[in-house]
């Protein structure tokens, strides 16, 4: 086994680094663009009358005054000009100077100011990625045509969550998902993965050998128990960069029929109250880090009620609501709060659910990708992708159809 990357540490006597976020004021139309960028889409407004694409976001077509609608766009572009900003009055950018930016002609039509990758110069072809900046707003980043994210570029690192050398907490590492996530983060170069060992203390499934590797530390952790959360965090020596909340309580059951209130209560205690406990305890720790992130694994059942898993879906819906509020709270600290949605998983809890189901390893890979690509919202697997698409299009129809 190769040597683990050195773990990042902090001198406890050193002056704490003040952290700032990118300027956050935006128009309503720009927030609409950001909401789509959070889903990994590159959209621009297109006139419903003349078809002209426009940017920056407007409220009427500048070509014919027609109405505008958001549409996905080709991501190609040509670099027109460049500059390296060496002086700024903004506190966030002052911490990151010099800053490369430029102007591109988008294949979609308009020109746009962009964050410019260090390898690009005027005349070059580029691909445009809409990424979320430290303030949580969409920003266009021009990358080389391969689209590859170069983790050594300090400017690009501001838009993603590096894993190498970081300390990561996985809230429930005992489940099939948890074990896969620990393994994926370990392999992605995390210096220390703190594996939360949730009760009950039962035999571990396949892949449990990861927990005894160098760079993985097991701590007892029940996020349904405030005392357990505090004690587990006290055992992490040094800073905490990333929290991955894999805890969930999946049980079938209805509301009046086949209902089990004990299971329903436990689902809420783990998914909803558990998220709050974990967020309260780790939020301040993440806020002190240069690239803090909180990733929540959440069921696509959170989008609409489920007759077959009523209590579970309700708890996951509550979890989603809390996650959105937590994201808003952490915005000022520049901590990314990300959601990875999944449908039924290929695990012990979904034995009676027919395929398609998502393999735990695939969920783990999606979590690593969400971090390293900076995706605020990811849907992994066909069921979650289908649910999100239908919910985005017609939420009321989706809620009906889902439970027919």
């Amino acid at each position: 086994m190769s040597a683990r990357p050195p773990k990042e540490t902090r001198d406890p006597l050193a002056r704490k680094k003040a952290r700032h976020v990118a300027p956050g004021k935006r128009s309503r139309a720009m927030h609409a663009l950001s909401a789509r960028a959070a889903q990994g889409r590159f959209v621009l407004q297109v006139c419903t009358d003349c078809g002209t694409a426009t940017y920056p976001p407007r409220e009427a077509c500048p070509n014919c005054w027609g109405k505008l609608a958001w549409q996905d766009q080709p991501t190609g572009a040509e670099v027109l000009c460049e500059t390296e900003i060496r002086v700024s009055t903004d506190l966030y950018f002052r911490d990151h100077l010099p800053w490369r930016m430029g102007k591109v002609a988008l294949d979609a039509g308009p020109v746009a100011l962009v964050h410019l990758h260090r390898s690009l110069t005027p005349g070059d072809r580029a691909v445009i990625r809409t990424m979320l900046d430290r303030g949580g707003n969409a920003a266009l980043f021009a990358l080389p045509p391969s689209g590859e994210i170069d983790m050594t570029d300090p400017q690009l690192r501001e838009f993603v969550v590096p894993i190498v050398g970081k300390t990561v907490l996985v809230s429930d590492a005992r489940s099939a998902i948890g074990l896969a996530v620990v393994k994926a983060l370990h392999e992605a170069g995390a210096a220390l993965v703190v594996a939360g060992m949730a009760p009950p203390d039962r035999a571990l499934g396949a892949g449990a050998e990861i927990l005894s590797r160098e760079g993985v530390q097991q701590v007892p952790l029940d996020i349904a128990d405030q005392g357990s959360v505090m004690e587990a965090l006290s055992k992490i020596g040094g800073p905490l960069d990333i929290v991955i909340n894999t805890a969930r309580h999946v049980r079938a059951g209805g509301v009046s029929a086949n209902a089990n209130l004990v299971e329903q209560r436990r689902a809420f205690d783990v998914a909803a109250m558990g998220l709050s406990r974990l967020a309260q305890a780790t939020g301040p720790m993440l806020a002190g880090r240069p690239n803090g992130a909180f990733v929540d694994l959440i069921s696509s059942d959170a989008l609409a009620g489920s007759a077959s898993h009523a209590g579970f879906a309700a708890a996951e819906a509550a979890r989603l609501a809390l996650l959105q509020a937590f994201r808003a709270e952490m915005r000022d600290a520049g901590v990314r709060v990300m959601a990875v949605f999944t449908g039924p998983v290929e695990d012990e809890h979904h034995q009676r659910v027919p395929p398609p189901k998502v393999a735990p390893g695939r969920i783990a890979r999606s979590i690593v990708e969400a971090l390293t690509q900076g995706h605020e919202q990811t849907c992994v697997g066909d069921v979650a992708q289908d649910a999100m698409a239908r919910w985005l299009e017609k939420p009321a129809l989706y809620a009906r159809e889902k439970n027919l």
Partner: protein
Amino acid sequence: MRRRPAPYDNVAVCAPVTVPYQRFSNETAHWWAGAALRQLRDTMGLTPRDVDGFCFASFTAGPDSAVGMVQHLGLTPRWLDHLPTGGASGVMALRRAARAVQCGDAELVVCLAADANAIDSFRHGLANFSRFSQDAVYPYGFGGPNATFALITDTYMREYGVTREDFGKLCVAQRANAGSNPLALQRKPLTMDAYLDARPIADPIHLFDCVMPCAGAEAFIVTTPEIAQRRGLPAASVLATIERHNAFPEDPVQLRGGWAMDIDSFWTAAGIRPADVDCLQVYDDYPVIVAMQIEDLGFCPKGAVHKMIRQTDFTIAGDLPLNTNGGQLSAGQAGAAGGFQNLTEGLRQILHQPLGEQVPDAEIALVSGFGLVNYDRGVCTGAAALKALR
């Protein structure tokens, strides 16, 4: 065929006023406006009762507009205008006031620009400048206008073969002109070496390509020749003006300004040629915009400005005196007053009331404005030719 604008009959421009700039000041825009009017009172005996038209430009008077200013300053005008157009506001104020006087809507219009500059107010002003800037400019490094004009300069240099030395010659000449202007904030001579060695701000923009934001006020009066004469005020006539906003929106990078759309009709209406101009007062937020105006106003063909710069002496004693007060690059940029100082300076030169050295026998001044980087380029442009009434 577009209708030709009527000539500016019976219009006199007079009484240029500059309230000495300060790099930082705790005084408000209202205070600076009051100081400009007080200067008009002290030099020509003007009172609030004499003013029946008022045109105001400012970025920092908020929450007040021209409306708040008239009550604040005790005016009872029958004609009122407010210009949010910054660097183009001087020429635009002149155009509007001239037509008001010519048509009898007002007899004596005070055109006034005033802006405050407290420590840190530049940053606050930037952060709330425009919706497009907020959405699509500031998030990209928050370089302010320096970054926007760096991109324009980068493209312009590559497209037209203009070098840093060419821009340097403009800046060095303007600094030399500032030498005799006691009100200029920067009067120490600038050498080409110092210009070239200056620290980079946003490549290819370096320190001496940038203006120094400051507080100040500028004003002038537009009235009839009879009133000007009765008050004993030397005055100038308006030969022609143009104005254009959001010109050439299809140009991916701004390499030409709105002047280029209307410049032929401008010279026709003025009845003169570029060679007849005795002093050229163009808007100079960055030297690239000076170079652009030299081309777009017709002093040389597009793309030939590097030759023109290399062959021309732009100092007060030279063949084309340029920004004879030092321009904003040396005198300072007092917000919207930066769009007035080129007009008051042009007026002073042809009225032979200079702040510093006089351009010998100056009769005709060309004044040009450029304003408001709403997104990736200056949106507002204008130009005016003034000739002394003697």
